[in-house]
Amino acid sequence: MHFRMSIQPPPFPATAAPLSPVSVLDGASALAIELSQASVTFGVGANSVPALAQTSLRIPEGAFVALVGPSGCGKSTILRLASGLVRPTTGVVIVGGREVSAKALRIGMAFQNPTMLPWLTIERNIMLPLKIVEPFRSRYARDKKGAFRDKAHALLAQVGLKGFASKFPWQLSGGMLQRANLCRALIHEPRLLLLDEPFGALDQFTREELWAILQDLWLAHRPTVLLVTHDLREAGFLASRICVMSARPGRIIDDSAIDFARPRSIAMTFEPGFVALNQRLRELIVDARSAVPGDH
């Protein structure tokens, strides 16, 4: 499918933080996520599995952070910590200025599996968060055929799914479902967007198309994004900052700012500066992998 990309104004006022990095004025409150010596161990006693070694990570509001590292290193665990789905075994996780719980901060999430509900149209699938999250929830019955639907349609248009609103999920291809998945993660104007390998199951070209879309969406709405990925090009293209993690139990072994000008293009990913970054990240991960004690 040929896809025309265009940046459109956001359909609703973005709850975005200012474009500039963390200002001195708001201090700690401008931190979207703060992990302080947080570690996670699954299970107890002899069967316990350390998933995340003591990790500290500070992510300012509006940042786009990518987490890369060998498989099973605890990348997804950090994501689940930030979403409140997992509690730290030790340490503290502060999200949106409060100790983490799902209600602390409006969170949008997307996984590799788009998990659209087969009995709902794409439009209704995308509107699902509005049915759950306040302040939309109490207006859902009234606005589902008006304002909310318009909102869903505007987002769908932004990701190139104009005209697919009333289709059912099984009528869409994998790439289209993943676009819809992004819409569902964004419709309730989340301040924090958590993405766990959202493009992992897609082919190279669809993936690159979706990178561009995600970049546009981020520039338009400016949520804080935490992206877990295996794809170093993806991390370099999208993120403003890349954290490299060691093998399990993971900890952060490298944390670098990525300063390529935005909006970035796919062509940029073949420029020497980008290739060099890729190379460096790759070596870090190869080292981390070989440092695995014993089996994997």
Binding site: M1, R80, S83, G84, L85, A102, K103, I107, G108, M109, A110, F111, N113, T115, L117, P118, W119, L128, P129, K131, I132, V133, F168, W170, Q171, L172, S173, R184, A185, H188, L194
Partner: protein
């Protein structure tokens, strides 16, 4: 013929007619006594002839079955939802249920009669006891197959357990639920007739019982045919409702216009 589905249906109808025709011919040719195996034409004739007498019994059996079935659905959905949502409930209720469902229900009827006297109540209860189990199992299975990612997405939104059950769990169980309804409604008939046969003076089960003690085999068979007809009718009714409600689960793979 233009419509292959119509052709298919005519074929099936023809084969069913052939079955009864074969039965009829077999009885005629072999000179089988109608005390042992009456001919279909005799059975239908008996049915028509005795219809005024049979009608109240048909209503009785139907009402008993539908009451037992409705109660069974309510109980089944409730138990299924509890088992599907709570691990503790699963561990405690499931073994009990499997134990209960392994008991032949004939053995339970006398207990119901002991408690409530003979008549309609034991029949309703037997029908309930026999039909709720497939509903429980299917609801619980449907709830247990919710994708963990979907649950994570909703939990991260701050959704309560009830939100998840209402928006994801229950709609997902609908295909399982309707599949189980079709089975359960036929089971409910079995339960009713069983109890009517053992301990009641009304209903098709009772008619068949007294007919067989009078060696009125055609009437016994007429009762069987009526039961089968009622079962098929209800099965079809629930299939139609199922197709309307859960069409998404049996969709055809339409080609996507790219």
């Amino acid at each position: 013929m233009a419509d292959p589905r119509l052709k298919q249906r005519l074929w099936s109808a023809g084969l069913i007619a052939l079955f009864f025709l074969g039965w009829e011919l077999f009885c005629l040719v072999s000179g089988m006594s109608d005390l042992i195996l009456p001919r279909p034409s005799q059975i239908f004739a008996t049915m028509v002839q005795r219809f005024p007498v049979l009608w109240p019994h048909i209503l009785q059996t139907l009402a008993t079955t539908m009451t037992g079935f409705a109660l069974g659905v309510a109980l089944g959905v409730l138990l299924g939802a509890v088992i599907g949502v709570s691990r503790t409930a699963y561990d405690t209720v499931y073994p009990l249920l499997i134990g209960f469902s392994s008991i032949p229900k004939v053995a339970v009827v006398p207990i119901f009669v002991l408690w409530f006297g003979s008549g309609t109540v034991p029949a309703v209860l037997t029908s309930l006891a026999i039909c709720f189990f497939p509903i429980v199992v299917n609801i619980a299975t449907g709830l247990a197959t919710t994708e963990p990612e979907m649950e994570d997405v909703l939990k991260a939104l701050g959704a309560s357990k009830l939100d998840i059950l209402w928006n994801v769990g229950l709609p997902r169980t609908m295909p399982f639920f309707f599949a189980s309804l079709k089975v359960a409604v036929t089971y409910a008939f079995v339960g009713t007739v069983l109890a009517e046969t053992v301990a009641s003076n009304r209903g098709i089960g009772n008619v068949m019982m007294s007919a067989s003690s009078n060696f009125n085999t055609p009437l016994v068979f007429a009762g069987l045919f009526i039961l089968a007809g009622l079962g098929v009718a209800l099965y079809v009714a629930f299939s139609l409702i199922e197709a309307r409600v859960t069409g998404w689960a049996t969709r055809k793979n339409d080609l996507l216009a790219a």
